[in-house]
Structure formats: structure tokens, C-alpha cells
Symmetry: C2
Subunit: 267 residues, 2 copies
DNA sequence: AATACGTTTTTGCTAATATCAAAAGGAGAG
DNA sequence: CTCTCCTTTTGATATTAGCAAAAACGTATT
């Protein structure tokens, strides 16, 4: 035992996190898969899973383990206590209806996108892109309009770190996978005030995103509007919708300032 | 140490759950509050919180601890993998629009209601009842239309257990707090196929709920529609909306059967 | 059917670690 | 500036998480 500098941790708490994380990313796993994913003996992994199951954090459905329903209220609680969500909720709804598309409120966390809220325009449902395929809820920033809008307003060193940590994975043939190209794109986004995503994350889907800033300084997140590429002709995609999205983002910024509540958001 | 019959547990995993649960129910707590809520020394509690914070499960905002953003994706994952959600999503949206009210998809878990999804009609926003007051996301069954719809189709012994475990807390002056009265009400609900909630959970809010059943047997959850009491006149509240809600519930039941996926939902 | 294999689950034992007390460090009040 | 209260760190120890191996299941395989 050399010098023990790092603050102390509860190893088992980390293990719990590891297990939940693993279940979140994969899904429908077995005891032994979990065991060697987190580096435990099957016996011990079993004890963890049994404990978590009895707490509802994990669910066992015919031999396989998956995340349990009890987690839902936690996510909901986080959402409700989030200022950005509170400030944006109504505006997002309005935006979705006004443009008859799908609107998302997103924020960045550890280099990934987290969806804070989702609103659908009247005829937008079905168009939306959770095609039953259960994608992981966290996406890369570089391939979405909201992500690019956020990146464009993050300080350079943070952008660099995101790229280093997360890489520039290719989702479709249009995804920007080159760092220089991305940096140039971010410049454009910053200048014109909104970001476009032309089937860069998913074929057939276009999106428009605008940043939500605080004090004209920190980016707290972004709003985006997405829909089927076929419905979004040139002008609508490049002019009308961006305008609507930016107006919504602006309205949210105003709301943020008028929130008497506590201080502002994360990180 | 006597005979150790119960299956083994990871005590620290339980502690993690205890802490998260405590943070979910209260909110904005301090180290020492957490410490004696879960029965640990402040020092140890601190180590737990520090670990969980570094994992994003918990967040420290000027000395106070609260649940962290990292939890959101877990809830989202659970929602996306839920069959009932998948089967109901589009229908809920349609219902909300069609009636221009707020629609909820709920399921029962451990005697409480869990919100699986929420959809707003075009003008329904603002009417909705998350009045920034951060209520805990889990509510009693007996005081909501969805809850009553579910209870009405649960076997008697389960209803009895829910009442015993959760009690019949009084939310407003109209809340049913008498067991016999509730049982009678459930009978009515079962007969006519839907449940009403006339300001029983919150003053000024009315709601209509219908159960979602599988095989005409198990209840998987319920759909409900809610809105301002002042907008919902007698006929609309007691006839038109119930009809819409029941139609939606039915459509969802049909979807559930046509899901090729895996088996069906939880306990 | 009977056997063999790959799991999961249980169990005994031990090393690792979660835990407490108490000290040290901060922050806010008087 | 000092006192007090809370958080954070630290040292020492009892508890428990962890492994290995055995037992119990389930499922192929012959």
C-alpha cells in the first residue's frame, strides 16, 4: 500500500453502478455475463443482482436480468427538479405543435446527450424515431442538431475533450467523422445561431437545433425539431423551422431568467 | 448468529438503494440528514455520497445533495423496454389530442402508481398539475382515476394488501378514505368499465380512467385523462370523455396482443 | 431415458473493506 | 476574531464482500 491519495470510495457502490450501467447498455443479460462484465465471480454477481432485484432496480424475467420499473420514478424526479426542463416544457410543447414535428429538449452530460423532454406535434407521432429498436438513451453530440448546437457554444477545450473521449462514430454516410470538418461546422453553427442535421444520425431523418444559453455565456442545452426528410423541403428545413426553433430557444432563455427558484443547472 | 435462512444480500447495495430512495422522497438534503435517515455515521454516509456523486447518480449543489442527471437515461431505458409503453404510446397521443386534455399511462408497482407516459393535448399544457411543487412521482392508487381503474381489476386479496400497506391517505376533502366506500366504488368502476376522479387527488382537477387488461384477466395498467374541473361539465365528464378513454384503452389492449415481441409485462 | 454439460444458486472461509470514533478542516454566526 | 456546527479525512477494527467449490437446476446429447 503506497500513498493513498484519492478520496475513499465504497467499492460496492461502484459495483452497483457498474451493474446498472451494464444492464442499461446491453439488456437482457445473464448472471455470468454481468459477472465478467464487472469483474466479479458469478456467485457474488448473483448476490448483487438478487439484492437489486428485491429493491426493484433490476428485474428478472425468465432467467435474464434487466433494469427494473422502480428506476422510473428516479428519472422522473430528476426531470422535475431540473430547471431547464421546467423552463422549457411548455415552450417545447408549443414548438412541436406549431411546426407539427417532434421536439426535443436535450442537455449534455459527460460528453453525451441526455433527453430531458420530448414533445410531439399532432401528426408527428409515428414519424418519430424510436423504431422499437431499443437504442441506448445517450447519443453522441456530433451527429445531432442539438448536440452540434451545444458543442458550438462549449469552450474549445471541452469540445476537444468530448471528441477525444467519445470519438466521432459514424452513424450514417452523412455523419461528420472528421475533426476539422466538425470544428468548421461548429463555427458555422455558432455564426448563424442554429444547427442542421441532414440524416447524419439516421437515414431519412432531418433535424434543426438551437442552443439554450444562460447569461449569453454557458450553454445549458438545446432544443431541436426533427422529422422525416421527405417532408422537409429545402426552405422549410433551412429557413422556416430554424426560425421557429430559435424563437423557442430564446423564449426558454427568457423563462430561465424569470425563474425565481434556485440557481441554475448542472455542471 | 442464529440460523441464517434468508438469501444473502450485499448490504452496501441496500444502502445505496436506501440513500437514493431517501434523496428521491426528500430532496436537497445534507450529509448528516442522509446519515441518520439510513443509519450510518456521517463519515460513512459521506463516502457513499461521494462515490455516487462521481458516478452522476447524485449531485451536490452547494453543500446539499440531490439525485443526479445520470439517472435519467435509466428511467428512459426502462420506459422504452416496457411493452405497455410501446403499445400505448401512439394511442395516448391520439387520445390527448382528440380530447384536448392531458393523458396519462400508468401502471401499478408495489402498491403505488407509476407514470409510464404523459401526453398533452394542444391546449392542455398549463392546465397540467405539476405545479412546480415537486411531488413525489409515486401516488396512491385510491385517489386517482387510473389507480381506481387498476384496483377495480386486481384480485381482492391484492386490493386488501394495497390498502393495508399504503393506507387511504386523504388528499382533498373528496378523497375516499373509507375502505368499505372504496370497495363499493371499485365495484361500480368494474361494472361500468371506467373510473372517475372528481377532485379526489387535487382540488380543481377531474379525471377519467380506464383499465388496460391482458387476456381479459390481468390488469397491466390504466389510461387516464385529466383536466380542469371547470372545463369539464357534467356530460363531458361522465359520458363523452369516459367513452374516449375506454376506446383508447381498448385499442391499447389490441396492440398488446399484436406485439410479436417478448411476453408481457410485470407482476 | 440416462448422462453430461453449462448455468445459477448456495455455502464456508478469509482477505478486503465498510464502518465508527475521533481528529482535522471549513463555513457561518455572533 | 472566536465559537460552533457540519463536513471531510484518517486510523483501527469488525463485518462482510468475495472467491472457490459444492449443490442444485435445466437443457442438451447420446
Amino acid at each position: 500500500m503506497t500513498t493513498d491519495d484519492e478520496p475513499r470510495r465504497i467499492q460496492s457502490a461502484d459495483r452497483v453502478c457498474d451493474i446498472l450501467e451494464y444492464l442499461r447498455d446491453g439488456d437482457q443479460t445473464t448472471v455470468s455475463e454481468v459477472a465478467d462484465a464487472v469483474g466479479l465471480s458469478p456467485g457474488t454477481a448473483h448476490t448483487y443482482l438478487a439484492t437489486l432485484e428485491s429493491r426493484g432496480f433490476v428485474r428478472k424475467r425468465d432467467g435474464k436480468y434487466q433494469l427494473g420499473l422502480a428506476l422510473l420514478p428516479y428519472g422522473e424526479h430528476v426531470r422535475l427538479q431540473n430547471n431547464l426542463y421546467q423552463a422549457a416544457k411548455a415552450e417545447l410543447h408549443r414548438l412541436a405543435h406549431d411546426s407539427d414535428a417532434t421536439a426535443h429538449l436535450m442537455t449534455e452530460y459527460e460528453g453525451r446527450l441526455i433527453v430531458l423532454h420530448e414533445a410531439f406535434g399532432e401528426n408527428a407521432i409515428g414519424t418519430e424515431y424510436h423504431p422499437r429498436k431499443r437504442e441506448r438513451p445517450q447519443t453522441h453530440l456530433h451527429c445531432t442538431s442539438a448536440g452540434k448546437a451545444i458543442l458550438a457554444h462549449l469552450p474549445d477545450y471541452r469540445v476537444a475533450r468530448v471528441i477525444e473521449d467519445q470519438g466521432l462514430a459514424s452513424y450514417t454516410s452523412s455523419t461528420i467523422t472528421d475533426e476539422a470538418e466538425l470544428v468548421a461546422e461548429l463555427e458555422t453553427v455558432r455564426d448563424r445561431g442554429f444547427a442542421l442535421n441532414d440524416q447524419e444520425q439516421m437515414h431519412g431523418i432531418r433535424a434543426v437545433g438551437a442552443p439554450i444559453r444562460y447569461d449569453g455565456d454557458r450553454v445549458l442545452g438545446a432544443v431541436s425539431l426533427s422529422g422525416a426528410a421527405s417532408n422537409w423541403s429545402g426552405d422549410r428545413f433551412r429557413r422556416d423551422l430554424p426560425e421557429k426553433v430559435m424563437r423557442a430557444a430564446n423564449a426558454i432563455e427568457v423563462n430561465l431568467h424569470s425563474e425565481p427558484d434556485e440557481g441554475i443547472s448542472p455542471d
